[in-house]
C-alpha cells in the first residue's frame, strides 16, 4: 500500500476517460495530458487504461509500504525519493518505508504519478476517472487527502526505463495552440478574427486565474460578434478542446468535463496540441494558429509516429 502524506494542490485519480455516455451528459473526465498518461503506463508496464494520479503543485508526498516500481511524467518536477533526486519521465524503484516528495514543479502544470501494480479502486460507469463536480469515480469520488491509503494488487518491480529527452514535450510558455475552425466561426467580425489569429507578441492572450478541469478562461482583446448575431447559441454537443466565446468576448477553452455548451464555438484545439492544455498556467501567454483540417490531420499522423518511436525507438 501507499499512504498520502501530502496531496499537493490537487491530486486525483484519472484514466483514459469515461466515453459513450455523452447522451446522458456524462463527460469523459480523462487525464488532461494523454501522452503523459499513456507514457506513464508504458514506463510502469501497466495496461494502457490503468488508473494513475494526476497532480498539481509542489509538496506532493507519499509513503511506500511496499517495494514497487514508479514513474512521474507530465510536468517536469524536482522530486526526491528519501533524499535522492529522481528524473522525470524515468521509472524508478521505491522501497518499503521510503518517501517520495515533489519539491518543485519546474515546467508545465500537471504531472502524473503511476505504479507497477493495480490500485484497488472501483470503476464508476466503466472508468476510474474522478468526476469532481458530481463526486463519483476515482478515490471515493473526491481528491486524494492526507492520510488516504491506496492498496495494490499484482505489485511488480519492473526494469528501469526512460523516455529520451527529445521525446519529452516542451511545456514552457508562450503556448502556440494550433486550431481548426469551429461551427460558429462566422459569428465574429473579420477584423476581430484577424486579431484573434495574429501571431505576434503584442496581441497574445494570457491565461486567467479562472482555470480548472472544466475549462480555461483566457484574457486578451475581446472577440467582437457580428451585428444581428445572437451571443449565445441553442445548447449543443461540444468536443474536448472546443474554444467557446461568451458574451464578453473572452475565450474559454473547454476540457473534458462538459458534453454540451451554449456559447459560440469559434474553434477547436487541434489534436497535436490538445495535451498542452493540461499545462496552461495563470499568466502564461497563448497564441493561436489556424490550420486547415487536412493540415491538422497530417500533423497528427506525424506526431503519432513520433509517439510510437518514444516507446519502440
Amino acid at each position: 500500500m501507499i499512504e498520502i502524506f501530502n496531496p499537493g494542490w490537487l491530486a486525483i485519480i484519472v484514466d483514459n476517460g469515461r466515453y459513450g455516455y455523452g447522451d446522458i451528459g456524462v463527460p469523459p473526465s480523462s487525464a488532461l495530458d494523454n501522452f503523459a498518461y499513456s507514457t506513464l503506463n508504458y514506463l510502469t508496464g501497466n495496461h494502457t487504461d490503468s488508473p494513475v494520479m494526476e497532480v498539481m503543485g509542489r509538496g506532493f508526498a507519499i509513503m511506500f509500504d511496499v517495494d514497487i516500481t514508479c514513474a512521474i511524467t507530465g510536468a517536469k518536477v524536482s522530486a526526491y525519493i528519501n533524499d535522492v533526486p529522481l528524473k522525470s519521465w524515468t521509472s524508478f524503484k521505491a522501497t518499503k518505508g521510503s518517501i517520495l516528495r515533489v519539491k518543485e514543479v519546474t515546467e508545465g502544470l500537471r504531472y502524473y504519478v503511476g505504479f507497477s501494480g493495480d490500485m484497488v479502486l472501483e470503476k464508476a460507469i466503466e472508468s476510474f476517472s474522478t468526476n469532481l463536480e458530481c463526486r463519483f469515480g476515482g478515490y471515493k469520488g473526491r481528491p486524494l487527502m492526507k492520510g488516504d491509503i491506496i492498496e495494490f494488487n499484482n505489485v511488480r518491480i519492473e526494469e528501469e526505463n526512460a523516455v529520451a529527452e527529445r521525446y519529452i514535450p516542451s511545456m514552457n510558455p508562450p503556448h502556440l495552440l494550433r486550431i481548426t475552425e469551429g461551427p460558429e466561426i462566422g459569428h465574429f467580425t473579420p477584423n476581430s478574427l484577424k486579431d484573434f489569429l495574429k501571431n505576434h507578441s503584442e496581441n497574445t492572450y494570457s491565461v486567467s486565474t479562472k482555470l480548472n478541469r472544466t475549462g480555461i478562461r483566457l484574457e486578451g482583446k475581446p472577440l467582437l460578434f457580428r451585428e444581428k448575431v445572437d451571443k449565445s447559441i441553442i445548447s449543443e454537443g461540444i468536443l474536448p478542446g472546443t474554444i467557446q466565446i461568451p458574451g464578453d468576448g473572452q475565450p474559454i477553452i473547454m476540457l473534458y468535463e462538459r458534453s454540451v455548451g451554449g456559447y459560440a464555438r469559434i474553434a477547436t484545439v487541434a489534436r497535436i496540441d490538445i495535451d498542452m492544455l493540461a499545462h496552461l498556467k495563470p499568466k502564461d501567454k497563448v497564441l493561436f494558429q489556424m490550420l486547415g483540417i487536412e493540415q491538422a490531420e497530417t500533423l497528427w499522423v506525424k506526431k503519432k509516429r513520433k509517439y510510437l518511436m518514444t516507446y519502440f525507438g
Binding site: G20, P27, S235, E236, G237
Partner: protein
C-alpha cells in the same frame, strides 16, 4: 438535415435552428438511427435541441469513410424503431428555502406564487436533451408567462434536486452545483445514480410532469 465536420473527430448533423418539437423528433429519430448502426468508431453521440454531434475515433477511420458508412444507411431512417417515451412525475416543494427565486419570478411575471406553481405543474414537458451535467434535463416548453432571464451572476451553489427556470426552459440539477437558472423549488427524486443503470432517470424524449407537494 445538414452534415458538417466539427474539428478533427467531430460530425454535426443539424436539423434546424429553433427549439421546437418537430426538430426534436427529427433529432431523436436520428439519434436512435445512429445507435442502431453500432459503429465501433463512434466514441460518443450527443443529441441536443437541433443536432446530433458525433465524436468518432479518427485514428481508426477517416471522416469521409465514416460519413459514407452513415449516409449509405439513411434508407433505414424512416423504419427505425424508436422507444416509447417514458412518463415521469416529479414531486416538487415550491418556494421558501427550496425556491429562493420564487419571489423574483412572481415579481417578473406579475403572478402570485400559487399561479406560478399552477402554471408550472400544468404542462407535460419534453426532455429535449440531457447535458450540462450528468442527468440534467433541458425541459420544454415553459409557458411564456413564466419566462425569466438567467441570473446575471450565477449562484456558486444550489442543492441537488433544485428545479429552475431559464427563458422558456425548465430543468432540474441532479447534483449540487453552480447555477445560473432561477430556482423555484426542489425535488427529492434522484435524477442520476452512477451505481445503477440506467444511470440517468430521464432520457431524451421522455415526458415530465411536476407535482406540487
Amino acid at each position: 438535415m445538414n452534415l458538417y465536420r466539427y474539428g478533427e473527430s467531430g460530425i454535426r448533423i443539424v436539423f434546424g435552428n429553433s427549439i421546437d418539437l418537430e426538430t426534436h423528433e427529427k433529432v431523436r429519430r436520428y439519434y436512435y438511427f445512429l445507435k442502431s448502426l453500432r459503429l465501433k468508431e463512434f466514441i460518443d453521440i450527443i443529441p441536443s435541441f437541433n443536432s446530433c454531434v458525433i465524436n468518432f475515433n479518427n485514428n481508426a477511420i477517416s471522416f469521409e469513410n465514416i460519413v459514407s458508412l452513415i449516409t449509405e444507411r439513411h434508407g433505414e431512417l424512416d423504419a427505425i424503431e424508436i422507444p416509447q417515451p417514458a412518463h415521469h412525475e416529479i414531486p416538487v416543494m415550491y418556494g421558501g428555502e427550496c425556491g429562493p427565486d420564487m419571489e423574483f419570478v412572481c415579481e417578473y411575471s406579475g403572478l402570485s406564487d400559487n399561479e406560478v406553481i399552477e402554471i408550472h405543474t400544468s404542462v407535460i414537458y419534453t426532455v429535449f436533451t440531457v447535458g450540462f451535467m450528468p442527468g440534467f434535463p433541458y425541459l420544454g416548453t415553459l409557458d411564456k408567462r413564466l419566462y425569466a432571464p438567467r441570473l446575471e451572476t450565477p449562484r456558486l451553489k444550489v442543492p441537488e434536486g433544485s428545479v429552475g427556470l431559464a427563458q422558456l426552459q425548465t430543468g432540474i440539477y441532479p447534483f449540487e452545483s453552480p447555477a445560473g437558472w432561477r430556482i423555484i423549488g426542489k425535488t427529492d427524486k434522484k435524477l442520476f445514480d452512477y451505481k445503477k443503470e440506467p444511470y440517468s432517470l430521464l432520457q431524451i424524449g421522455d415526458k415530465v410532469r411536476f407535482i406540487k407537494i
